[in-house]
Amino acid sequence: MSQTASRYFVPEPSHWPIVGSLALGLMASGAVMAMNGVAAGKFTLIGGFCVLVYMLFGWFGTVIRESEGGKYSKMVDSSFRWSMSWFIFSEVMFFAAFFGGLFYIRVLSVPDLASFENVKFLYPHFSDVWPSAGPAFKEKFTAMEAFGLPAINTLLLLTSGATLTWAHWGLVKDNRKQLIIGLFLTVALGIAFLVCQAIEYHEAYSEHNLKMTTGVFGSTFFMLTGFHGFHVTLGATMLIVILFRSIFGHFKPDHHFAFEAVAWYWHFVDVVWLLLFILVYWL
């Protein structure tokens, strides 16, 4: 009987959830205050972030100890798979909101603003040309060239997907060296991507006059690429954790869901970038 019962895993009471809630409460109220010019806001936000980091270390640390301690059965493993898949789906829907906004602006709102009544009565010199920053934006700006840095970034991310899969092969074959080298290359490529992105943002602001305030083009450009960059940062952080765990000898060829979860996440980030490259930079 106990063999069937131990399929389940019900953890002991834990204080990490309430620490997490405290962190989120501090971060949210700190952000509200910071955005409204209350001096304490910034410190509350940073304090909340520190509590969040403490919680993540503690909570994930517990999970890693439980996993390495052999407490997770096949059933738990399967639970993790379901949950990670649906978490990634929720992220897909988050980006879908911004892509939806982009399509609406390009297909409906900008052409409408340049249509008959509006041109006649409100904005006589406005025409429907993308990239557009709207009828009230009088300065000159240029969009980023797709086949410059963004193309290099595409190459970097696609290569990182390949190195990650190569690392996974190493893990499955129990070739620890291949695993670590593959992960190291993936992290390096991810960081290189982020550096290129930072250079690109700098160029956008200094040379292209392309800012977050540059009408709808600036809004959609920075919102989409910014949230993507944020997700790359998260993914790279997770990869670094996995890299260290691999160095410490964690994971077995048949028991390494944490690795796979991070890999799924990394490929998701990769696919979002491909859409960005085509829909934001290229077309």
């Binding site: 019900v10 909101a97 911004f98 409906l108």
Partner: protein
């Protein structure tokens, strides 16, 4: 300590070592689905009282024409917070509470799949709730935009609006984690032999609701994030001068908002699909068609959002499409209503309180469905947009639909939770008072709306005075009647007739465990034949 496992059972005794904190810390650190379910239900009831008090401020102001009680700005804040708190703070957590308590019991699992994350999903709620309630006390007060947070007004609001935005972010995180947990529990932790098509209907409704939540809560997060950057970082998503469009917000918001209606309604359907068969002493009529009906409602709900936007200048072809698509939802909903009625046909009906609330639901929710069908007709909706007819419609769906079914579920499962029978006389009194005052409050609003009274405005023309007076009397009666429920619940927790394991003679695994359900159940999975 790891698994709930008899081989390790001795470790349960180590209370002194801090494994099982007592007092307040028991609730703060708990990983038990029953504790967490109870916390959700109490939180929900507390928010129900807060949101209810706000609605009474609204009804007090509308008791007679002219401005008497509150300022128009505060009235707007009450309108906004009442809706946000009732939707996100009261109704949704109530059904998540039911899910936490009942899904593991109904599928024969020892707990939810991710017990710690389950606790976090709950403990985010008080933080988000205090953001919403607290926004009343900051300079400029709470958001006064209505719960839909439409720009350009929401761009102009003070910091209370930012608190609403972050509150919504937190609520969304809680919902997504809760939903992932529910999906994983249902798909992965069912007892051997319990195939999906043998699952209780309540689990089915929650499985599909959880998918809806994961699909739309992130979209809402995206929408309010764009509001936030438009407010503080100079983007122009919703500003025509920068090439954006305020209507874009409405599209994104209602892409979330319409499935949200079914996020609230589907678990309510689930509870009703448990209660009606139990008190008809018959299995539910048309189980398979019920499952397909829920799934169809969920899928169609993604393609009807612009019926909330008929008057925003969308093209005629768009209006026609959204009108027909909306009407299509009435078909699977009709299947469900038909099946509930057919379940009762030739059943051995008895009318205890849960059944009374279920029947109240059946009549009044159907009425709310019909007024929804009226509003789906574009030509009619253009007349009725933003009138009290709409207010009456969605309160028939939200209160008589969701709240009645939450009461049906609460009375149905209270003996299982507390081990005592509730006071049947008081329960029935609660039902009849609620039914009477609910209709007094909201039925008259149909007439007000048809006569042209606009909503969200603190004053009105003299011709609307009579019905508004009736509606306000009803609202105060409705509010007071809910205190009776609180009394019944406390009385039931404290004592009462001992409840048997299978109180109602209903099928289902939850009735095979003793009442009250022990702290740990199904540590070894039952086998379902």
């Amino acid at each position: 300590m790891a698994a709930v496992d008899h081989a390790h059972g001795h470790e349960h005794g180590h209370d002194g070592h801090g494994h099982h904190p007592t007092g307040l810390m028991r609730w703060v650190t708990t990983t038990n689905h029953k504790d967490i379910g109870s916390m959700y239900l109490w939180f929900s009831f507390a928010m129900f009282m807060v949101g209810g008090a706000m609605s009474l401020v609204i009804r007090a102001e509308l008791f007679q024409p002219g401005l008497q009680v509150v300022s128009p700005a505060f009235y707007n804040q009450m309108i906004t917070l009442h809706a946000l708190i009732m939707v996100f703070g009261a109704i949704m957590p109530a059904f998540v509470g039911f899910a936490n308590w009942m899904i593991p019991l109904q599928i024969g699992a020892p707990d939810m799949a991710f017990a710690r994350m389950n606790n976090w999903s709950f403990w985010i709620l008080p933080v988000a709730g205090s953001m919403l309630v607290g926004s009343m006390f900051v300079p400029g007060g709470a958001s006064g935009t209505g719960w839909t947070l439409y720009p350009p007004l929401s761009i102009q609001m003070g910091m209370g609006m930012d608190m609403a935005i972050f509150g919504v972010h937190l609520l969304g995180m809680s919902s997504i984690m809760g939903s992932i947990n529910i999906i994983t529990t249902i798909l992965n932790l069912r007892a051997p032999g319990m195939t999906l098509m043998k699952m209780p209907m309540f689990c089915w409704t929650w499985l599909i609701t959880a998918y809806l939540l994961i699909a739309v809560m992130p979209v809402l997060a995206g929408a309010v994030t764009m509001l936030l950057t438009d407010r503080h970082f100079g983007t122009t998503f919703f500003d025509a001068a920068g090439g954006g469009d305020p209507v874009l917000f409405q599209h994104i918001f209602w892409f979330f908002g319409h499935p949200e209606v079914y996020i609230i309604a589907l678990p309510a359907f689930g509870v009703i699909s448990e209660v009606i068969p139990a008190f008809s002493r018959k299995p539910i009529f048309g189980y398979t068609s019920m499952v397909y009906a829920i799934a169809s409602i969920a899928i169609i709900s993604f393609f009807v959002w612009a019926h909330h936007m008929y008057t925003t200048g969308i093209p005629l072809t768009g209006q026609l499409y959204f009108m027909y698509a909306t009407m299509l939802i009435a078909v699977p909903t009709g299947v469900k209503v038909f099946n509930w009625v057919a379940t009762m046909w030739r059943g051995e009906l008895t009318f205890e309180t849960p059944m009374l609330f279920a029947l109240g639901f059946l009549f009044l929710f159907t009425l709310g469905g019909f007024s929804g069908l009226v509003l789906s007709v574009t030509a009619v909706d253009i007349m009725l947009q933003d009138t009290y007819y709409v207010v009456a419609h969605f309160h028939y769906v939200m209160v008589a639909g969701a709240v009645f079914s939450a009461y049906a579920g609460a009375y149905y499962w209270l003996p299982k939770w507390t081990g005592h029978m509730y006071d049947e006389t008081l329960g029935k009194a609660h039902f009849w008072l609620t039914l009477f005052f609910f209709n007094l409050t909201f039925f008259v609003q149909h007439f007000l709306g048809l006569a042209g009274m606009p909503r969200r405005i603190p004053d009105y023309a003299l011709q609307f005075a009579e019905f508004n007076k009736l509606s306000s009397i009803g609202a105060f009666g409705l509010g007071l009647s809910q205190l009776l429920f609180l009394y019944v619940v406390i009385k039931c927790i404290k004592g009462g007739k001992k409840a048997e394991a299978n109180v109602w003679g209903a099928p289902g695994l939850e009735w095979t465990v003793p009442s009250p359900a022990p702290y740990h159940t199904f540590e070894e999975p039952p086998v379902v034949k």
